[in-house]
Symmetry: C2
Subunit: 220 residues, 2 copies
């Protein structure tokens, strides 16, 4: 039986959606390991649309599922249709979208809330003791949702502000290089910093994510 992994996307682009490299490397590593994957996204507008060249806000709205289909080549199911019983693990790539569309951390910091469909997915996998992988800023989505549960997570290098935020949410931070992963065996959560580091080499981002995928799959 092939392992079957659900991947949550939330748009296509580092400034307003899923980080493209992180998402592609996740799917590539899953495929390389012989696992099946299915992408999911909320059928809802992105929080904003950002010109990724200038960094300025753009007019118009973009739908998370429609834009995620750019990464997933058309095969993105509605997140509301995700049944954790049908999958062996869940992976959340990062990008600003994780902080804007999966929760509102980008706007509210640690008083943010996680979107209901995302929260429902996290609860489902967690209750079934199925592993969850989170990349880049996506561990913050777990930190918000599993407040007080004492997760061990990485958000990159030692950063006083981020470490304080994780501590305030009742978790523990582990500094990791871009090629490293933080494995929380007890909570079955794996994280890797990817583009939380400034300007890492793209192939090192791939190395970190490939390790994360291998670790998540080894827990199944």
């Amino acid at each position: 039986m092939k392992k079957k992994i659900a991947v949550i996307l939330c748009g296509s682009g580092f400034k307003d959606g899923s980080e493209i490299h992180e998402s592609v490397f996740t799917l590539n590593a899953l495929s390389e390991h012989g696992a099946d994957f299915q992408c999911f996204a909320q059928d809802a507008p992105q929080a904003d649309v950002v010109d990724c060249l200038s960094g300025q806000a753009m007019s118009g709205t973009r739908n998370q599922r429609v834009e995620s289909a750019r990464i997933a080549r058309g095969n993105v199911k509605k997140l509301s249709d995700l049944d954790p019983a049908q999958f062996d693990a869940l992976i959340l790539p990062g990008g600003f979208g994780a902080a804007k569309n999966l929760c509102d951390y980008a706007f509210k910091g640690i008083s943010a809330t996680v979107k209901p469909e995302v929260a429902h997915a996290l609860d489902g996998f967690s209750k079934l003791k199925k592993p969850i992988g989170a990349i880049c800023i996506a561990p913050m989505v777990l930190a918000l949702h599993f407040k007080g549960k004492g997760l061990h997570l990485t958000l990159g290098s030692a950063d006083a502000d981020l470490e304080a935020q994780l501590k305030n949410l009742g978790h523990h931070h582990k500094a990791c290089k871009v090629t490293e992963i933080c494995v929380d065996e007890a909570s079955r959560v794996v994280s890797t910093p990817a583009y939380m580091h400034e300007n890492p080499a793209i192939h090192e981002v791939n190395q970190g994510i490939t390790k994360l995928v291998g670790s998540v799959l080894s827990m199944i």
Copy 2:
């Protein structure tokens, strides 16, 4: 001295821009080989905008350079600023954008013309005998521009129509699996089919592109 490779993007998404996986795997393989890269795109609207979930046309316009910045994390120069003398090789990822934005093959078949800035880049690298890599449908851009020059190219499996088109343009087709490359030593052109094949495993697309990048770099 690090090798320096120019990569031409034309949007972000398989139906109306650069194929995202192909673009990311190109940048990743270049980085893995220790080469520097710089992405370029025309500062011009895409030929169209397509909903990559439904496959239907969408309203609105999107700028090729702005959308390419989603793949290149903001670092995309204007194609009009590309000076082939400053680079060692050129690589063109595929996606429908290559057939819609780099030329109008998607609309006019082999009577298509290649966009002036793209033609200028191809001429520049070719005259300096610098290698050119082309992925998926992008070899058709070379076939159109270098009409009658007898290039050896792959567009995937044996396909009577595509083979006839290449023959009519004065070139030779080589059937390749997704993990294979077609190397034309004389013309210093390397191609790989990637998503010209239907539903290949994403990691096999990566394998073909990684081979292409290695072959292009070996010619420098």
